[in-house]
């Protein structure tokens, strides 16, 4: 077996084994638990990077690495497929995982039981969802991810968590039912569950069955759109994310990406631009949903005073932007959106990580009163009637926090010069400059919404920043732990790296988007990977299928 | 001896388990007997903390008792069935009956409860805390004293022989 193929299972099996090991470590051994957790996360990142490296440097059929679990050929066994898109997502997960695991080591595991095992199981679920090439296996990994996320969301308990958690779980249980129904319909129509096989069989579906196929796809899409927090299916997100403990919320930023990923992956596979009867089926709807989500998120950001709510709505903004950009059908826009995905994931995640430390600086007075609640006093600018004109120095921890907050704000709002801006600029140039899809009203709406979301985010974050860092009353110099700062640094550092190496990354995502728009290589790679003849399967294959 | 006892805390149970295993396996091949022995010996050891050694004796008494019950079951079935069918015309003398107990062994009592359950026409309703009496609901007992005497003789006495 190709050693690279063996590598593909690492992002799934590694966290699972780590979770098992962590279960054997007593809760009282916190340091040991944290170390194992961090180590496992780092190892996961390393594996992801190795996969990315392989996928990026391999050419031809090798560029899609396939691992046939249980040694059964597609479409019969479950194939894990690491292509450019999966590899990219894995790395994103890895980096956020390392960041949040560092952060959690500051003591977050103490608020409840089994934080670390659940953390690793969540990583396992997300990675599995990104890797799997089988629809039902996707469901299973969704469930792995969700099961762990329920636990993490409720970590620490308390009424806000339980209330929002209950809603979150209820919605997701419903979504899981929808997933199963959609899946079953697809199986009923095509008799297969392998994504590659489905992609190959969609063009052969007779016209009389297209309705069923489309209905199945629509129901399936519902499950993903709920995960992706698309409006109007996203009311659960903000309460759940804001109630969750800080590192959990930061980790959850990844989960909406899984929904977006699933939509993207299946949409591109099932209804590629080349297929005749169902070409890009549902595209306009996705576009509309994306735009609505973007608008909703932007309004939500603007309406939010609390930092965690801003971050949560930013997650929605991200989802809307991604969905709308992908749905334009333009390769350049998809490439830019992928770039944006990376940047925004890190940024929002970092923002979530900062919510709690930033609140440590909050003064009593400003904790109560949002800046916009009252009109300012009558114009009164004469200096001698005001506070003395002497500045105050920031304590080092506040200064560091403030700088990090500023960087985060720039990234989330998409303001220059960091990768947030680059990604937005890339999306803008892509949607305006797409030759295949000349600018239409949706282009202008998307453009306006993108800029508005930036503006609204700026307004909100400035408001929050002023409230926390520029409080006029007494301010407390927060105590920052090294691991906490390290966690934020990891994520922001990743963004800085993304800013500096923007072009290689964009070239990577462009290649990814190009590849996504023509699913043939994916299908060929999956079907072109033979199982290894071995002791149990000497005379393989025994039964040919039609 | 102690080793044997530890290995085979309740031989009757082990025999029963072996029988169940072979019945389940639907085969008496060597392989299944070996497996069954492993299970029959291993499982009682596993559950020994739950299961105090049984004092059941007299295998023939057990067999006789079983056959007796089987016969009574068939008979009572017919009685109750017939009673249900002609319910509109004839009401049986159903009543609660307190039966003073001499049997104290928990396992014996459990078997007694199984018997009352299996035999239609009697429903075990309550057991005194000190196990000195039980309350039965009887489908048709025209004469209470007669019923008590018959019940004790027919069902309780053999159990005392087996378990005490």
């Amino acid at each position: 077996m190709n050693p690279n193929a063996a590598l593909i299972i690492a992002p799934v099996v590694l966290p699972m084994m780590a979770a098992a090991v962590l279960l054997l470590i007593r809760d009282s051994r916190r340091l040991r638990g944290s170390l194992v957790n961090i180590f496992a996360s780092c190892a996961g990142l390393a594996a992801a990077v190795a996969i990315l490296w392989h996928v990026n440097h391999a050419t031809g059929p090798d560029a899609v690495a396939v691992h046939l679990t249980s040694n059964w050929a597609a479409p019969f066994g479950i194939a894990l497929v690491a292509d450019r898109l999966s590899a990219l997502m894995l790395v994103v997960v890895g980096i956020v995982g390392v960041g949040t695991s560092l952060y959690a080591a500051a003591g977050w595991s103490r608020t409840g039981s089994y934080f670390h095992p659940l953390f690793q199981i969540l990583l396992m679920g997300i990675n599995g969802a990104f890797l799997t090439g089988d629809l039902f296996n996707l469901f299973v990994f969704f469930e792995v991810m969700l099961a762990a996320s329920y636990g993490l969301q409720l970590h620490g308990s308390g009424w806000p968590r339980v209330r929002s958690g209950m809603h979150y779980i209820a919605i997701n249980l419903l979504a899981s039912s929808l997933f199963l129904i959609g899946l079953a319909i697809l199986y009923g129509v095509m008799g297969t569950l392998s994504m590659a096989d489905v992609a190959a069989k969609v063009p052969l579906v007779p016209l009389s069955d297209r309705g069923l196929l489309h209905a199945g796809a629509a129901i399936l899409a519902m499950a993903f759109l709920i995960k992706a927090a698309v409006w109007p299916l996203n009311a659960w997100l903000v309460p759940a994310y804001t109630a969750a403990s800080t590192p959990v919320a930061a980790l959850f930023v990844l989960m909406t990406k899984v929904g977006v990923y699933a939509v993207l992956r299946l949409w591109m596979l099932l209804f590629p631009a080349v297929d005749g009867a169902s070409t890009q089926f549902g595209g306009p709807l996705l576009l509309a949903a994306g735009l609505a989500t973007l608008a909703f998120g932007a309004i939500g950001v603007l309406a939010s005073i609390r930092l965690d709510r801003i971050a949560a709505f930013s997650v929605i903004v991200t989802s809307g932007t991604l969905m709308a950009s992908f749905a334009t059908g333009s390769i350049a826009a998809a490439a830019a959106a992928l770039f944006y995905l990376i940047s925004s994931t890190f940024a929002v995640s970092a923002l979530f990580l900062m919510v709690e430390p930033v609140q440590r600086t909050r003064s009593e007075r400003h904790a109560q009163r949002p800046v916009y609640d009252a009109m300012p006093d009558e114009d009164d600018n004469l200096d001698d009637e005001q506070l003395p004109l002497v500045g105050r120095a920031f304590p080092v921890s506040v200064a560091a926090l403030g700088l990090a907050f500023m960087a985060c704000s720039l990234l989330v709002a998409g303001l220059p010069p960091l990768s947030g801006f680059l990604s937005k600029a890339a999306i803008l140039t892509a949607i305006v400059g797409d030759q295949a899809h000349p600018a239409s009203s949706s282009t202008w709406i998307l453009m306006t919404l993108l800029l508005c979301s930036s503006l609204f985010t700026t307004i909100s974050l400035v408001r929050a920043g002023i409230r926390h860092f520029w409080a006029s009353g007494g301010r407390f110099a927060p105590r920052l732990k090294v691991v906490e700062s390290g966690a934020v640094l990891v994520l922001l550092g990743a963004c800085v790296a993304l800013t500096v190496f923007a072009d290689p990354v964009l070239r990577y995502t462009t290649a990814t988007a190009t590849y996504l728009h023509a699913p043939r290589p994916y299908v060929d790679a999956v079907f072109g990977t033979p199982p290894r003849p071995g002791p149990t399967k000497p005379e393989y294959p025994q039964v040919e299928t039609p | 001896m102690t080793v044997l006892r530890r290995l085979l805390p309740s031989p009757a149970l082990s025999v029963a388990l072996l029988a169940i295993w072979l019945l389940l396996a639907r085969s008496a091949s060597a392989g299944h007997i070996v497996l069954g022995l492993i299970v029959a010996i291993g499982v009682p050891v596993l559950v020994s903390s739950f299961w105090p050694p049984s004092r059941a004796r007299h295998p023939f008494a057990i067999l006789r008792y079983t056959l007796l019950i089987c016969g009574d079951v068939v008979h009572s079935n017919l009685v109750v069935a017939w009673g249900v069918v002609r319910w509109r015309w004839h009401r049986p003398a159903h009543r609660f009956v307190v039966i003073p107990l001499d049997l104290r062994d928990p396992v014996g009592l459990a078997v007694l409860s199984m018997v009352t359950t299996v035999v239609p026409g009697t429903v075990w309703s309550e057991l005194a805390v000190d196990r000195s009496a039980m309350l039965l609901h009887v489908w048709d007992a025209p004469d209470e004293a007669d019923f008590v005497a018959r019940f004790k003789a027919r069902y309780e006495a053999p159990l005392r022989e087996i378990f005490e």
Binding site: L118, Q542, T545 | F50
Partner: protein, 971 residues
Amino acid sequence: MTSISLLALVALPFIGSLLAAVLPTRSRTLIAAFAGMIAAVVSVVLLTSFPMVRGGGVIRETIHWMPSIGLDLAFRLDGFAWMFAVMISVIGVLVCLYARYYMSPEDPAARFYAMLLAFMGAMLGVVMSGNLLQLVVFWELTSLASFLLIGYWYHRTDAQRGARMALVVTGAGGLCLLAGVVLLGQIVGSFQLDDVLASGDRIKAHAWYPATLALIAIGALTKSAQFPFHFWLPRAMAAPTPVSAYLHSATMVKAGVFLLARFWPVLSGTDEWFWLIGGAGGITLLLGAYLAMFQNDLKRLLAYSTISHLGLITLLLGLNSPLAAVAAVFHIMNHATFKASLFMAAGIVDHETGTRDLRRLNGLIRSMPRTGALALIATAAMAGVPLLNGFLSKEMFFSETVFLSASPVIEWTLPVLATVASLFAVVYSLRFGYDIFFGPPSTDLPRTPEEAPRWMRMPIFFLVTACVIVGVAPTFAIGKVLDAAALPVVGGTLPAYSLALWHGFNLPLAMSLVAIGGGIVGYVWLRAMQERGRLVLPPLISRWNGRELFESTMLAITRGARDVLNACTTRHLQPQLFIVIATSVVLASFAARGFTLSWGDRPRVPASYAFVVLWIIGMICAVGAAATAKYHRLVAITLMGGAGLVTCLTFAWFSAPDLALTQIVVEVVTTMLFLLGLRWLPMRMEKPGERATLRDRARRVRDLALAVVVGGGLATLSFAFLTRPAPQSISPFFLGNALPGGGGTNVVNVMLVDFRAFDTMGEITVLGAVGLTVYALLRRFRPPAESIAQPDQQRAVPQERATDLMKPRRSDAFARGYLLVPSVIARLLMPVALVVAAHYFLRGHNEPGGGFVAGLIVAIALLMQYIVSGTRWVEARTRVRPTRWIAIGLLIAGLTGLGSVALGYPFMTTHTAHVTLPVLGEVHLPSAAFFDLAVLGVVVGSTLLILTALAHQSIRKQAPAPHPSTTGGRP
């Protein structure tokens, strides 16, 4: 010098900023010297590079950053940019020097100079950008830096508000600029400034031109504080005065006019340009001057004057005339010099007297004659007094307005407007100059004014000297620079113009005289009126306050956003679920349109009346459960059991024995779970007289309708599939390969442990995760108050009478009382259950069964012990450690999978060991059996973890100390 690195030039201030930030914050002299040095180095390098940009020379430097989207770090220095860069750096040096004396020793200097340097770097970046996207980058950086500078004294409310307003307005403008730039880049096909400057015709002919122009104009106008975005600038006065001096003269606000001038060659020359840019400039010119007359705060007066002067520059650029453009460039320079010096002077006054109120300041010329003299000269320049630089550019402006050929209305209005604005300028200049320095000296000032230190006056002196030199000998002093700077602006051919002081008696001169004369009269009149308490606030528009408008707009959109949000989302679960379901229905029906339900020709399942009846029972149970779940929970659970049973029978009937087995054991465990939970739910009693409200009933009807639609939809779909011929399925492969390849005859089990073992691995992980979650949640469980007490049933037992209804005890061999017999039976069942579990486990691969069912059997048997003997009894006898079961199960699963990897096969590849044993003969030991063992472990562990965690609540509630972490015990 033959070449300079523009990148280094731009980077230098940023690097300096970083260094300054880490210097000790109180050592202000050191930091000021350091910052000044940086600015000085930049200035010197720039000044020496003048020969390279003369006569259309351009220095370029490009570093690739993101060529894929056309964004490169392209630096480009032509004459115009050079002029700006010099202005920025030289005034930067002066501001550094000035700030050293202005700022208090307590002010954190590191932060101040770090930001100032960053701001300088950003401005340099803007003016030297050779790439439009890069320009936007630096543009927004200036907004950001200015935000931090304005908010330097962040503890003051006015600083917070001013900074925020500046950032929001200019940041928003920047975003519009970004949009405009993107469009422009799209029209041109490149973001390189050189390419854009060469494509003027194409741009103006493009359909997107108006939109592009509007977007770029918004960017420029917000930055330059032009009407209607002018209101942020006076607010920015909350900044320390050196910052104001810098922002108002050479930087921030000038970035806007820089942009207009930069794009002048390609965007101007159209009516749209004239009306948009010229209109905004004209209005701002007049409005700014008008408002400035009524200000009582020194800095605010200057701020409105800045607005007005920038309006003048904008208007000049908007006139579509090359000569006007040259005048604009000239005025940019002039305004920078006098405005910087005026702010510095105002700062000194403020610093020395402790107030900036014009009404309180009087006769300062006596106490600070040198500062006064300098300030007066600068004021005269601002007012456009001859022999000073302000006069020259104003004259150029006047002549442009006079000689402009346009529609008659404009030909008449413009000169009038120019004269009136100029008149206003004279009035406010007089207010600034005369009110402060002349008249009887004030006595009630907070501080006794003295002459400022020499080095603090030095920058003013330098600037005022420049004003005078330019004013007296313009061609000599500035001619070449102006030529070089204006050339790129007008796009290649410089129009003929003269910088002469004297053009003879002409209309512009007359206008100047009218303005000066009228201004003096106006000043006297205004002063008289104000002394009588009238005209204190600007007439006509005093109520119309841009700042208030901004604040209330912000408030309104925040509130509006909140309202929209509340309308678009919900905190309640029911509407959310309704939306999800309804959307699914709508989407699915929309997607399925065109599909016609046919009766299909698949062979029908033979009718079985038994199943007709059973299914009817199932449906009744389902509906019954739905109807009773509100008030009769136990009934609902019972009915749900019935429905589950029918489901199980259906599986059994349709040849799915594995499913039937699994369903039945899961059914049992689920019921137990519900029963355990029921203990903690409140009793709900149906109130007989209670009637639902109309709204409730409407909601019920709505939900019922949706439920019927969903049910109908599901039924239709499944009917469609039940009657259609089956598709080409991959299933025959499994049937064919289960035995030869998977080593088992039970295809479903082989799928679970071999073909799709990866699914099963995920599935047991789900189970484990849920178990952990439940345990974690219950450790923090806080039972509701009314459930903590003993259940009614237990309280109903008369305490004084012996009864068999007693709790199980820890020590007894068997339970007592009513549980005696059940406990004997349950214990008897335990070994039987284990044997049965072993049976199902071992045969799973070939017959129905397997690890999952076996695991649940074990769990149920243990659960039974809990029921009859109580938690304490069971746990005193056996140490069930569910977590360990889960952990070991997962480890076995992972290791089984990895074992095959170690052998060089894919994950989870089944290997079978063939062992020949004495009695048993050949034994096949597939690795799948280990995996099934893992399943068993996790299932037992998770199920027990869940159930016992729930069960523990009953003993916990009686514990006196309800500390969550101490009770429950570690499983």
